[in-house]
């Protein structure tokens, strides 16, 4: 947190001083230009020493962000690219933050998820690459369905719902989210993507016997998707600093077996899925067999286990359940 506030106040002073010198956003004519390749000097090693992996990619993301260019238009070798003095200061500030293990996605303030770009916010969970695979699977299953009323439990930045809406015009999505910041961010992302017509998000914490907000208590859906917190409590000691220090642990903590929140979602699905409706979940490694057992033992006549799927790392992580 200290790095972040320091960085922010630094940027405030920087932009304050530069606005008196030049009023336009074009590079100041008097400012000396520094070649990007020169500015990079030494940073790769510093990042490595700080324990950051994949340093080339990190640096390229930061450079594109500083230059305000799309990532995929910046050449890998940075030839002919230059920073003005302001950009150079930004660049160094961001690299410092990255050395302090601030997540790259927070530093640059946005991230790409499937075909959309989402804003990120410091306390909101950053979508993971495997979740793209999960959403791809769900889209594949619903692309030919005429109309889908979808509910997402715990939408975070809105990544899953919004990329579904982006890919499939026949989907209407409602989301519930316990964090106020995430609720606001998901709504902002929906507006930025022009998807607010088909998207609603409610700030609500799912609890036993109060699974849905009051206004949605009688609603039923064709599809419920969720990537609930599934990290086991005793696994927290092994997490990366980016995750433990900077991410909202509420979005991760799945209790002793990692299924505390998932169990609530099962109950919610029993009440709010139409008969034949599906529940798709992204969970941790050991969870799908466990879910299968839980379905057999506790949900006979209510939910059935349809299938489980592997992520791109060949880990069994995704499950599909059906309302009887």
């Amino acid at each position: 947190m200290t790095t972040r506030t320091a960085a922010r106040s630094l940027s405030a002073t920087l932009s304050g001083s530069s606005s008196t010198a030049t009023t336009t956003t074009t590079p100041p004519s008097g400012g000396s230009l520094v070649e990007v390749n020169k500015a990079l000097d030494g940073w790769e090693q510093k990042l490595k020493d700080a324990g950051v992996r994949d340093t080339e990619f990190n640096l390229k993301c930061i450079v594109s962000h500083v230059l305000q260019r799309k990532f995929n238009t910046v050449p890998d070798d940075f030839t002919q690219l230059k920073f003005n003095s302001e950009q150079l200061a930004d660049f160094e500030r961001f690299c410092e933050a990255r050395c302090a293990r601030m997540p790259l996605q927070h530093i640059i303030g946005e991230w790409d998820f499937m075909d959309i770009t989402l804003k990120t916010a410091p306390t909101v969970f950053i979508p993971r690459p495997e979740t793209e695979e999960f959403v791809r699977l769900v889209i594949e299953n619903y692309k030919d369905v005429k109309h889908v009323d979808m509910l997402e439990v715990g939408c975070g930045s809105g990544a899953m719902s919004l990329s579904m809406l982006h890919a499939l015009p026949q989907v209407d999505a409602t989301a519930i989210e316990r964090s106020k910041a995430a609720t606001a961010l998901a709504w902002e992302n929906a507006k930025l993507l022009g998807l607010q017509q088909r998207f609603k998000v409610h700030n609500h914490t799912m609890e036993k016997d109060k699974y849905m907000p009051e206004e949605l208590k009688d609603k039923q859906y064709d599809l419920i998707i969720s990537n609930p917190p599934y990290v086991k409590t005793d696994e927290f000691q092994y997490l990366h600093p980016e995750v433990v220090v900077y991410e909202n642990l509420n979005a991760l903590d799945g209790g002793s077996d990692g299924l505390r929140v998932a169990r609530l979602v099962f109950e919610l699905a029993c009440r709010h899925l139409r008969p034949g409706g599906k529940l798709w979940l992204e969970l941790g490694n050991e969870h799908p067999p466990l879910v299968k057992t839980i379905m057999h033992l506790k949900y006979q006549g209510r939910l059935t286990f349809v299938d489980s799927y592997f992520d791109q790392y060949k880990r069994e992580r995704f499950v599909q359940l059906q309302k009887v």
């Binding site: 994949d54 990532f71 998820f113 950053i126 690459p129 990290v231 092994y238 995750v243 941790g284 992520d311």
Partner: protein, 393 residues
């Protein structure tokens, strides 16, 4: 003969056109006997074509022409001859006959146009199920590459406009948004009859975005069209792929926050490996890598021995037109001029043209028509009536 009698009848109504020396005028004798020979060939094939594929193909190609010809003849029979008119005593009746003849003459005229169109289509070469379409930046550095990219966009829009399926198997861009070259394969048997006219050098005249002094530059890009006799299809099965990312092992999902978006894919049956890292989204990189793999596999197939001999032969024929400047895109005057069209080869609204829609297809249709006419004229010049037909006359 029946035909001659009909021709006599017609000559009264089209005396001026009868004199015409246009080889494609319907009254041209050679054209008439050529048509008759096609008709005879058609009916002969209908009797004998059983089970023979190439004969069936010919039969279906002749179908349009012969049908149009039969309709034309049916219309002709409706026209009352001069003699019959002279015999008719009743004034009103004669006026009626005259009126009727006028109507039929109009219809006949329309039918002739339709027939000619069918005949022109017939003069097209053999059909190809697919073709390779290449865009290459030519002289003019970055500006030429920018122009190549605009042409690429124009043609891919055109493919969409025509509803053709296509795959891209090579694509090299530049930093400032230009295109060095792109190779596509278009899967449509109609495509060759359209795109063949686009092969050659395309020239652009404008003040490039990269030019500071405001001078007008001339740059070029070339289009190559190579017909493919056999369809090329690549199927990639998910189970044949080994997908690798930077993160080799360890927990995934919520446990870590990795940014490993770079992807490497190995195609197990062939051992081909492709990588992609130009996007921040891993899934996008994976899609990109699969596209590249698809392209590589396609190229491999294209280069297989049998295919390459065919392709080279055709490429060399295509080369004849290679250095010929076929069209100029002048942004300063907002016009596009096709140098092969004699009259009215210039049209305005360049940006509309670059959309690759109606304007482009309209121009190609004109080129098609001119080319087909020229071919048909050539064919008629060298054509000799078959012996049997001559005997019958």
């Amino acid at each position: 003969m029946f035909i001659r009698k009909l021709l006599n009848v017609r000559s009264h109504y089209h005396l001026r056109r009868w004199v015409s020396t246009d080889p494609l005028s319907f009254q041209n004798k050679k054209l008439q006997s050529y048509l008759e020979s096609l008709r005879l060939e058609y009916y002969a094939l209908r009797v004998s074509a059983a089970g023979n594929n190439s004969e069936y193909a010919r039969l279906s190609r002749l179908d349009g022409v012969v049908n149009a010809l039969e309709q034309h003849r049916a219309l002709q029979r409706n026209i009352t001859s001069e003699q019959d008119m002279a015999v008719e005593k009743d004034e009103d009746m004669r006026a009626l006959m005259q009126e009727e003849n006028n109507v039929y003459t109009d219809l006949l005229q329309k039918q002739e146009d339709a027939l000619l169109k069918e005949l022109l289509t017939l003069s097209d070469d053999e059909l190809y199920p697919a073709l390779i379409f290449e865009v290459n930046a030519g002289a003019g550095g970055q500006e030429a590459m920018l122009f190549a990219y605009e042409l690429y966009n124009m043609y891919t829009s055109f493919f969409d406009h025509m509803g053709w399926q296509y795959d891209e198997f090579a694509h090299e861009t530049t930093d400032i948004g230009g295109l060095r070259h792109a190779n596509l394969i278009v899967h449509d048997s109609e495509a060759y009859q359209w795109l063949r006219y686009e092969a050659g050098v395309h020239r652009v005249q404008r003040v490039p975005a990269t030019e500071k002094a405001g001078r007008i530059h001339t740059s070029t890009a070339s289009i190559t069209v190579i017909p493919r006799p056999a369809d090329v299809h690549v199927h990639i099965a998910e189970r044949d792929l080994k997908i690798e990312t930077k993160r080799a092992s360890g927990a995934g999902g919520q446990h870590v926050n990795t940014t490993d978006s770079a992807v490497r894919i190995v195609h197990l049956p062939t051992g081909l490996a492709v990588e992609a890292q130009s996007e921040r989204s891993q899934l996008k990189n994976r899609e990109l890598a699969i596209k590249r793999l698809h392209a590589k596999l396609m190229q491999q197939q294209l280069e297989s021995a049998e295919a390459s001999t065919q392709a080279t032969r055709k490429a060399q024929q295509g080369n004849l037109n290679r250095n010929e400047k076929i069209r100029t895109y002048n942004f300063v005057q907002d016009r596009v001029t096709d140098h092969r069209v004699q009259k009215g080869g210039t049209q305005h609204n360049l940006s509309g043209f670059l959309d690759g829609g109606q304007q482009l297809s309209g121009l190609i249709e004109r080129l098609q028509l001119e080319n087909r006419r020229a071919k048909l004229v050539e064919l008629l010049e060298t054509w000799q009536p078959p012996k049997e037909a001559a005997d019958m006359n």
